[in-house]
């Protein structure tokens, strides 16, 4: 059966984690598009896609992730990917679906990245404006 399971965690400030499991393909990508679309109407700027349970992705699924990246880009937001299985990682690498620096194999790596991002934001806010 070609099925997809999507779990949307409660948002944390401007960050939103979504767990995607099963198969993300031509039969299921619309479910992900429909699930993510309302999130882009909220102030989130970091979408964390946890792909631990994702077993298969085709170009239709890659398109959905691209759409999400493009939706967040105008607000300088990012789609971060965590825990992709090797076969998923291989497809991502093949088509450069997500920059390598935005794919994480462990929660520790992701947390370190998010903390560094947060520090940048705080430091940016603390820096006096030029004008």
């Amino acid at each position: 059966m070609t099925t997809l399971s999507i779990q949307i965690d409660p948002p944390q400030d401007t960050r939103q984690r979504v767990l995607v499991s099963g198969r993300l393909d031509t039969h299921t990508y619309q479910e992900l598009d429909d699930a993510l679309s309302p999130l882009f109407a909220t102030p989130i700027n970091t979408l964390v896609l946890d792909l631990t349970g994702l077993e298969y992705i085709s170009s239709a699924g890659i398109r959905s992730i691209f759409k999400a990246r493009k939706a967040l880009s105008p607000r300088h937001g990012k789609v971060l990917v965590t825990h992709p299985q090797p076969q998923i990682r291989k497809v991502f690498d093949m088509v450069k679906a997500v920059p390598l620096g935005e794919i994480f194999t462990s929660t520790q790596e992701l947390d370190a990245y998010l903390e560094a991002m947060q520090r940048k934001v705080v430091e940016g806010e603390a820096t006096p404006a030029d004008d």
Binding site: M1, T2, D25, T26, H27, E55, Y56, S58, S59, A60, I62, R63, F66, K67, R69, K70, S73, P86, Q87, R89, K90, V91, M94, V95, K96
Partner: protein
């Protein structure tokens, strides 16, 4: 192992075919990574024929032929859509900026990348695409380690 299936040119029929194929390849002992690649290749080729090749206009069936032995897995897809050679599909602009990259155009590129050989011929009103994957019983993901 050899199999041949004719399906209507629809996504529902494609999903059933891919599930059936997956079960058969598992029973044959083909490694999971290869089975995933076969699923991907069949999905991309069939979707392209259905969506862009207009092969559904007269409901002519898609035909899948597949054979597997120790040396190779050979998949052939026959469709009666517009003449189209998937090995001629243009390479996507993988290194353009996010803003400049289109969201599509990746499926046939993935097939080109995964196939050890990709052959095309036109016979009468049919496109025949043949994909060869070598060593279907060997692991294929070592290069990720």
């Amino acid at each position: 192992m050899k199999m041949q299936r004719d399906i209507p040119p629809s996504l529902d029929a494609l999903a059933r075919l891919n599930d059936d194929l997956e079960g058969q390849l598992q029973a044959q002992g083909v490694v999971a990574e290869r089975i995933g690649q076969v699923r991907l290749i069949l999905e991309e080729l069939a979707c392209n024929a259905i969506h862009h090749g207009d092969c559904g206009r007269d409901e002519a069936p898609l035909r899948l032929q597949l054979r597997v032995d120790a040396q190779a897995l050979v998949l052939e897809l026959h469709d009666r859509g517009n003449a189209f050679d998937p090995s001629d599909a243009p390479a996507p602009a993988l290194y353009d900026t996010l803003e400049d990259r289109p969201i599509g155009g990746l499926g046939l590129y993935m097939v080109q990348q995964l196939a050890d050989a990709l052959d095309y011929r036109r016979e009468g009103d049919a496109n025949i695409v043949r994909v060869t994957l070598l060593d279907p019983y060997s692991p294929v993901l070592e290069d990720l380690s």
